[in-house]
Symmetry: C2
Subunit: 135 residues, 2 copies
């Protein structure tokens, strides 16, 4: 028994559907394809995106939010993909993973301190507001 009606997932997406969902332009999606980050199927001339394509796009945009370049995002996404062949490749992959982890930890620290400063700034702003508002 296949479970049904559990938030059915579309089998494919058009380019404008994806553009709408992620609030980007179709130009952007085609640009990502041009850069080798996506390779949707074609129905005639028209691009047809699979759920996997959609996930890749999602990962690209997550990378963007973290300030990664498209090249970096592609590297990271390919890390999680199949087809890592020989031993040297795997060694290099492990190194890249370590680098990525270090960078993310740095970002984490940066976020922590920035959050703290935002707290301070908000407190000062509210204090200043109180002073200017009462009386």
């Amino acid at each position: 028994m296949k479970p049904d009606r559990i938030a059915a997932e579309p089998a494919s997406y058009s380019i404008s559907e994806l553009a709408r969902e992620f609030d980007i332009t179709t130009r952007t999606i085609r640009f990502y394809e041009d850069k080798g980050l996506l390779s949707p199927a074609r129905r005639g001339q028209t691009r047809v995106y699979s759920p996997e394509d959609r996930v890749r796009l999602k990962l690209i945009l997550r990378g963007k939010r973290l300030g990664f370049s498209l090249d970096e995002s592609r590297e990271i996404i390919d890390m999680y993909d199949p087809a890592h062949g020989n031993v040297e490749q795997l060694q290099r992959l492990l190194e890249r993973i370590e680098q990525q982890r270090a960078q993310l930890q740095q970002q984490l620290r940066d976020i922590q301190s920035l959050m703290g400063e935002l707290d301070d700034a908000e407190a000062r702003a509210r204090a200043s507001l109180a002073r200017n508002t009462d009386s």
Copy 2:
């Protein structure tokens, strides 16, 4: 009694000292000045950077690591600076702070998930390595 010899901080820095410390070029530092992010003193024609200037530079680079544009970084840095005058300004400041906080929280989530995926990727790589190495 002023405590002395507790990691004495220089009273000023040259442009190349800062460039070396943060591993950027002098061109970059001048560029930031051009964009209004720094305004060092001058000794004759030569730029002289105070410890405060150095901190600002540090904040700019932290912003870069988080994928912020220079304009965004300037905004954030100015948030933590003095001179917020009237009530409307303060209101807008509080809004910006809230936006920033939301963005940082999104980045936090992104980092969490990416970290998890890195763990997976590493595990798979190590498993694959083990398979290819033994026998």
